[in-house]
Point group: C2
Chain length 429, copies 2
Amino acid sequence: MKDIYNVGLIGFGTIGAGVVETFNRNLDLMEQKVGTKIKLKKVVDLDIETDRGIEVDKSILSTDVNDILEDPEIDIVIELIGGYEPAKSFILKALSNGKNVVTANKALLAKHWEEILETANKSNVRICFEASVGGGIPLLEPLNEGLAANRIQSIYGIINGTANYILTKMTDEGLDFEDVLKEAQEKGYAEQDPTFDIEGHDTAQKLIILTILGFGIYVEQDKFHVEGISKIKQEDIEFIKNELGYAIKLLAISRIEEGELEVRVHPTLIPQDHLLASVNDVFNGVYLVGDIVGPVMMYGQGAGMMPTASAVVGDCLDIMENMEHKNIYGPGNTEVKKIKAINEIKSKYYLRLTAIDKPGVLHTISGILSEFEISIESVTQKRQDEGQEVPIFMVTHEAIEENIQKAVGMINDLDFVEKDTLFIRILED
Amino acid sequence: MKDIYNVGLIGFGTIGAGVVETFNRNLDLMEQKVGTKIKLKKVVDLDIETDRGIEVDKSILSTDVNDILEDPEIDIVIELIGGYEPAKSFILKALSNGKNVVTANKALLAKHWEEILETANKSNVRICFEASVGGGIPLLEPLNEGLAANRIQSIYGIINGTANYILTKMTDEGLDFEDVLKEAQEKGYAEQDPTFDIEGHDTAQKLIILTILGFGIYVEQDKFHVEGISKIKQEDIEFIKNELGYAIKLLAISRIEEGELEVRVHPTLIPQDHLLASVNDVFNGVYLVGDIVGPVMMYGQGAGMMPTASAVVGDCLDIMENMEHKNIYGPGNTEVKKIKAINEIKSKYYLRLTAIDKPGVLHTISGILSEFEISIESVTQKRQDEGQEVPIFMVTHEAIEENIQKAVGMINDLDFVEKDTLFIRILED
């Protein structure tokens, strides 16, 4: 074992500042744990002038990334600039130069996983990315190591804090989507352009990483169904909560069904007494089922300066303690025969139709559903004056998604149906 | 790295059979993960005749423990016989003979931690015990590794399935303690002598282990407050749930308050919207707070044949992958000045008094509380005919436990107080 480990940090933004602050606060603890000296030797950013509000030795700041990438003394490179380039080039160069890499860059990993892993393995160095999913929650390591005796059967994740915050507020305070989004933007919980979070793209990138670890399969983002929460209205939330007794969550799902893998991101109804229903506000939770262990859940802050820094620094310590550990992520010899298309899945569904109330409406709709072998578990039509627009809420028994899609398409074409019908999948596990 | 790792299992009971079954089912997966061959070379038990209902190669069974302890080819010894002796002698001999040890033996670790750790370190081998707390939940490893950048501030654990099952049933079904206990015994969720579980001793042993990992401090079991759930009545549950909006859980608590460590096991009122309140039935959950990461929770099946086997085999794989890893458990240089006695803690309290309803009762009781600087947040006395026995429910503001104990002692001595007053601490975090 070495006497000292040198760390280089690329990217002195919010998370980067959290990493520096973690070194400031807990270096003593970390050195005891590893049993060597640890040094944050260099911090590189284009901007090294702005005050980050934390203590930092000016002499370790640099604007030249090669002060890290080309320094033979640096053992571990932390990449926190995000995005594809130049992050990708920096990571590949660090790995090629024999440096272990820690990153929180989910976008990059989700897109270029195979190239990054291959480069790390060629140089016999480690690539760690605990912070890329679930912020500070110990998640990837338990999944990959602690549960290594298991065949993973299913992964259900609430892994986007912004979407979860919006759904929680809509549920608890009866507010509309647009109003909560505006408030979230003011509080800094949502970006000015919130598309990435609320339309499920962030969740999808993280799900790609979870799927690698859980099932050993790399699925590209355009190969699976991704659906956000922007179509959900207060009337849905209210009915789902008060009449059906479900919570609604934006869920990342990766699971084996009859030997086939389902990978999908969409809003999902979850029974109130399911543990995932208690994952509220900006918190994240990942619920997974192994064939030996049964269900397990990890919960915590999925984003933010310090929680994410906790995972980044945790990875650094893991590398120092287990420098020889191989990059073995996920089970190698997977038995998955194929990845299921979204229209092949089976689920129960919640439907919200909007129709003009007149005689024969329900008869026509139920006829279409019946034609596609969709049987109805419950239907609720609120009282309304005849000739007015009225919402009709339905819950189906288990049906094949293709049939739901076709039936909904036909229903939407009816002349008394005023708005597109919303359908949301229901989790029964 | 070696070509093959040989494992020896001592103890072919329920968990031992689970370990054999895990090898049967998932050896292919495990070998891919580690990148070597893995062999369960020997299984030792006094009884090798009884059919365990699983497949096992008869030639690996033996009644002689030295077939494992003295076999130079065996790298890892799994101890699953439980109890103090001969488990302790076997573990010490295995360690001294240069073998890594995996155990689920919480009683032994809680009592002889220092000797076992020292013996392992002397031989430069690993001692792993993920299964000793929280069954299959990845818990100790995340606490010790993934969160290594953190100073742990508090640990709250629901870590006894029997007690949690009883409290959940009492809450959900309105049954009395004795009736639920009887049902739990019939279902096999509780032992015929349930004292160990329901009086908190099992929880206390696990808390000792969590405290080592979280705070680097070994506390002996007779040095902290341990209190079970047998005094809780249905009238408490009902009032706590319906009138106060709290859940009640048997909680293991280890936390830093003003530089001092609190270590205690007792029933605790938890706000309904706290994640721990959703840990029901036989499930376990450990909620912990780190200074960098904030709150994190791990959840799952805290006992049982297969979940526990998952943790045992997970430890074996971890050892194979990281043979050189040191036994560094918990932060070394702790800043904890002292361990707080139970009468020094501060808490809000729930009180249930039983008095004869007559004029002046409340006046006298509130006078005693006031004398000990305990202020009352709420009081509820159900209507009753004068002269009858009546329960009085109170919630106090934060008070010092010593004052509560003295006040309750004085109240119990009043001639119109019929039964011992019950007081339960309330978690505010």
